[in-house]
């Protein structure tokens, strides 16, 4: 197992390298630059700016410089949000996004798992239909519809919760964004758990447990073990996406997370910010894929990594 993890870490390096290379050149070929304003800057100012940020050097050299700094863990200064380095921005934003994302993930897994299992146990009953249609609803209603509706209902009409803001992570401020983030994932988890639980409940070892007269809770636990495999592999990328923040939720609820940096960076040609977020997401994706593989081996003893 350990050697497997080590090998995965080593094989992640070339992938990461390729991802960095592709996105570095992709954003550089894109028309426009970080200092293109509505009114063009004076030529000498532009030249100075370019020199400071090493933009006057040939592209290959810039690429080399960037890689060298990146290898030392330095993401460089932001072009657009001046006075900040990318490291600073992540240090401020990541805790926010990770808090929201992990809470949403937890909600989705616990609630979605429970709902899906109940639906599977009572297949074709009214509970099943409610869960199924709820699942479809969670998949089809975009979060930028749900979020303003929640703001109006809970924030303004009922005046229960604040409509936005971070407020140092106070519980009341977190509730709405976490629900909005969790709903689509919850729907997917409930649907998947339902489908795989139905299959698992029909399998031979579960039938044996039932015939032995074990209580339902024990049967469900055993069935869940088998049924959770597809969800685990779904949750890997989903967790990476959730923990690195959502543009929509962070924009609508005015939260200082890292999700906005994708769009902001790409639109303003903030090269270092874009590269930073790309690396961040890639690292998260790879880490969670590794985690999924390890969890797989723990849940399913037939899976072996040599």
């Amino acid at each position: 197992m350990l050697s497997f993890i080590l090998r995965r870490f080593l094989s992640a390096i070339p992938t990461l390298f390729l991802v960095v290379t592709i996105s570095f050149f992709l954003i550089r070929i894109a028309p426009g630059g970080p200092f293109d304003l509505e009114q063009p800057l004076e030529a000498t100012v532009m030249e100075n700016l370019k020199r400071i940020y090493n933009l006057d050097k040939p592209l290959i050299e810039q690429y080399g410089i960037y890689l060298w700094h990146l290898a030392q863990g330095d993401f460089g200064p932001s072009f657009y949000l001046r006075d900040f380095t990318i490291g600073d921005l992540f240090a401020r934003g990541l805790p926010v996004s990770i808090t929201l994302g992990s809470l949403a993930l937890l909600t989705a897994v616990l609630l979605g798992g429970t709902l899906g299992s109940i639906a599977a146990l009572r297949q074709n009953s009214w509970i099943d239909y409610v869960v199924s249609s709820f699942g479809t609803m969670g998949l089809t209603i975009p979060n930028f519809v749900i979020a303003p509706v929640f703001q109006i209902v809970f924030g303004l009409m009922l005046a229960l919760l604040p409509v936005g803001g971070w407020n140092d992570g106070s519980v009341r401020n977190i509730i709405l964004p976490v629900i909005v983030l969790a709903l689509p994932q919850l729907a997917v988890v409930a649907r998947m758990i339902r489908a795989s639980m139905i299959e698992a409940l029909r399998s031979n070892h579960i039938r044996t447990l039932r015939s032995l007269g074990l209580p339902t809770s024990v049967v469900v636990l055993h069935a869940l073990r088998g049924a959770s495999l597809p969800i685990v592999s779904y949750l890997g990328p989903a967790a990476a996406a959730l923990l690195t923040g959502s543009v929509v939720v962070e924009t609508i609820f005015a939260l200082p997370g890292v999700g906005r940096y994708f769009v902001e960076g790409a639109l303003n040609r903030d090269y270092t910010l874009v590269m930073g977020t790309v690396v961040l997401v890639a690292v998260f994706v790879m880490f969670f894929n590794l985690l999924v593989d390890i969890l797989y081996a723990i849940i399913d003893p037939r899976v072996r990594y040599e």
């Binding site: 991802v19 592709i22 089809t140 975009p142 930028f144 519809v145 509706v149 639109l267 997401v281």
Partner: protein, 378 residues
Amino acid sequence: MAQGAVIPTDTMVGSVKGRSLWADARARLFRNKAAVVSIGWLILMALACIIGPEITGHRYDQIYTEYSRIPASLTAYPKPEQITPAVERIGSRLRAKPEGIAVEGDTLRATFVGQRPIDERSLAFFSRSDMFGEAQVTERGEEGRRLTVEVPIERRHFYFGTDTNGRDLLTRTLFAGRISLSIGLLATFVALVIGVLYGATSGYLGGRIDVAMMRFVDILYSLPFIFFVIMLVVFFGRNFILMFIAVGAVTWLDMARIVRGQTLSIKRQEFVQAAEALGVGTKGIIRRHVIPNTLGPVVVYMTLLVPKVILLESFLSFLGLGVQEPMTSWGVLIADGARNIQGAAFMLIFPSIFLVSTLFALNFIGDGLRDALDPKDR
């Protein structure tokens, strides 16, 4: 289906009819009520979006400045209580006071009394307004200081209300449906073509080529999806058709994986070996024998991809990267509605109902197809 599987039915009159996978699947699909209702709904929606904008009586980009953000209503505008203020507004332009405003059916009668003679040319203000037609002078008195006019009232229906610019929301919603649905279909088609060809080639060739091709897919996978789309939008500009292609070019990855998995199992089967033995080329085998047999899961994935693409488009529109004004899509309308949710909730509700019901229908069809094509679940 492979070419050889086609049964010449005309020579088999009277004999037992074989049940192909597709006939079987179709029968099972039509037994699924949710799927059938969804198909009907989708056809209705498509028809409404194609024909609707032509018969609502408004153009999608027609602006009625006097009807900005008016709520949805089944009765025609202008409402009785809107007429008097409108006439008074025009009166102030004429430098005259309106008296005895009376509405009979679709005509308005009013008498304007001014301090000085009223310039009859200013009556053009009536026809410039969105509420009235050409004004006719029926009576002149007091040396032109008193004018009695008859004006036809132009009745307009705004069943869904209007947006902030005073454009009919019903027309815009239907027009947006055209764009959203065609983006969904076209982008899915692009994803389908790239994904199927790539996946089938990779799976069939196998070996090192397969590893390299799939590694490439993996790398694209670890690039943040949004970043990729934004880059494509930045490159191609906010062009309508290129948007389809860009979105399609991003969503083909799953398709390629699914098709590759299918291909790996198909290429070991006898009919492929037979084709190889008969000397059919690689291209021919992939096109004739491999791709048709991967269609089941591909069709299912496709129906589920259309709603995903529509959602993605609306997400991009929400960020302001999607379709540009005066063109519109459901995403644009919803983003607009979300901004005006206070005071004009109908601007969010109507487009959302259209979008969500369409996505619902597509999902039900996808689920129905999956059940219908699943050989395990008979």
